[in-house]
Each structure stands twice: as structure tokens, then as C-alpha cells.
């Protein structure tokens, strides 16, 4: 199991890369006022049909045929974490229309893992697939922060 929610995010977003996403939008909402923490990873990858979606939500299923040893526990882990912490878990997807994974939990729940090193997750994702745009939207009661790897890429090009 993962110790940090940001590890869950990395794990889910790795699926987006496997689905040839060109854009991954990660959003994290942390609200003390509503006692809620919501994570969402949305991509524009190849998505899944209804059957596949049903199958992957069952524990221990993977669509990755190339690796016979793939276990397919990533989504199940996140589902467990969110449901254990008084939240909900949902996956929305359609063939050719990307996938969106949302997990919420009670911010003050005693079992809620810490968000952890979100920066490490984003940096690892940026390095993982250079062509994929990685976006992070973070919101709390006080703050609204945004990171977009494409903005950096264009600035970087000026130096080259």
C-alpha cells in the first residue's frame, strides 16, 4: 500500500501514460471548511469501454497484456483508501474519450494518508513522458495554485 496520496496520484497517472495521453490534469482540493479532500486524475488517453471499466474495478484486474505479471491493484488501492476514509471513488471513461478517476475522503479522517510529496510526483511524471503535458491544479480554502508543464516547455525553448 502507499503511504502518501501523492503516490496514489503517480500510480494512477502512470495508467494515463500507458493509455497514450497527451495531457494529464491532476487536481487536488483540500478544504478544511468542508472537511473534504478530493483527488482527480483526468487524461485524454484512449479510454475504456463499459465492459473493461467494470472489469478493472473488480480487484486485481489489469488491461496490460504485454506484462503477464501485471497485477492491477492500483485502482483498487485508491478505492480502498478513499472508502476507508469516508469518501467516494469513481472512474469515468469511454473509448476514445479519456479517463477520469476521482477519489474523495474526509480530510480529518484519522486513517487518511498525508498528501505527501506532490512535487516529486509531478517531477517524476514530467520526466516520465516528455511529450505529455502535465497539469496540476491545487486548491485549498486559502490558495489556488497551478502548474502546467507546457508553460515551462515554451519558456525553455527560448533558451535553446
Amino acid at each position: 500500500m502507499f503511504e502518501e496520496l501523492s503516490q496514489h496520484i503517480l500510480d494512477i497517472a502512470m495508467n494515463s501514460l500507458s493509455a497514450d495521453a497527451t495531457k494529464i490534469e491532476i487536481s487536488v482540493v483540500e478544504s478544511r471548511r468542508h472537511d473534504r479532500l478530493v483527488l482527480r486524475v483526468r487524461d485524454d488517453g484512449r479510454g475504456m469501454d463499459a465492459d473493461t471499466l467494470r472489469r478493472i474495478l473488480a480487484t486485481s484486474a489489469s488491461t496490460k497484456r504485454s506484462r503477464r505479471k501485471a497485477i492491477g491493484l492500483g485502482l483498487a488501492f485508491l478505492r480502498q483508501t478513499s472508502e476507508m476514509c469516508g469518501g467516494r471513488f469513481a472512474v469515468r471513461s469511454a473509448t476514445g474519450r479519456g479517463t477520469s478517476v476521482t477519489a474523495s475522503m474526509r480530510l480529518s479522517h484519522i486513517d487518511r494518508p498525508p498528501l505527501g510529496d506532490l512535487n516529486a510526483t509531478i517531477l517524476a511524471l514530467c520526466a516520465a513522458e516528455k511529450k505529455t503535458a502535465v497539469q496540476l491544479n491545487y486548491r485549498s480554502d486559502e490558495e489556488k495554485l497551478r502548474f502546467d508543464s507546457r508553460e515551462l516547455a515554451t519558456k525553455g525553448a527560448v533558451h535553446v
Binding site: K64, L145, K155
Partner: protein, 123 residues
Amino acid sequence: MNLEQLKKLKEKAQKQIALREGGKKYRVVVGMGTSGVAAGAREVMTTMLDEIEKQSLGSVEVCVTGEIGMVDAEPMVRVEETGGEKTVYGKVDVEGARKIVTEHLQKGKKVQKLAVGQAKEKE
């Protein structure tokens, strides 16, 4: 997360993008499947990126792969020399990640202690 952290993230990402240009001598592949992440592959990867940036190793490219099927040896790192040998390292921790950068990527010396196997075939 706060504004300070966001600034740091942007700076770091910017530096890493700058290092992507130019010819590469080594390709480093980190196993970032579920088991890899759970075993600490993310920290291994960010440490390597950090160390590569600190030592300005522009000749190294870092990327990731999913599950390799050797779950007990995670976190795993594969170092591929362009047109040459591939070395697979297993049970790499932060310390090991630093060692791979300074020894293998910088000086060209393999870290035998961490190696789990070698493919003799060229790609």
C-alpha cells in the same frame, strides 16, 4: 502545498527540461509500476534527476516503465548505454540511486553490488 513549493516545483521542472537537449550516452529507465511506486521508485527517480542536475550530466536521459515482473526486486533501475550494454539494478534506495549516478553515469563504472542481471544482447 503552498506557493513556495509551487515555485520550487517550477524551478526544478525548468532545470530538468533544460537538460533534455543534446545527444545522450545513457538512458536510465525506472520501473514506475504500482509495485515500484510502493517500494519507493518515485524517490529513487527524483534523487537521480536531482543528482544528474547537480552534476550537470546532460548526456543522460531518464524515463520510466511499468511493471517488469520482478516485484520483489523493486525499485528497479535499468541503465542502457547507447548502442551498448544494459545493466539492471534492483532494490535501489536513495543512497543506491546516488551511487548509480556518480559511479555508473559519471565514471562509467558499474555498481556491482546492486546489479541483478545483464542482458548481453544489443538492442
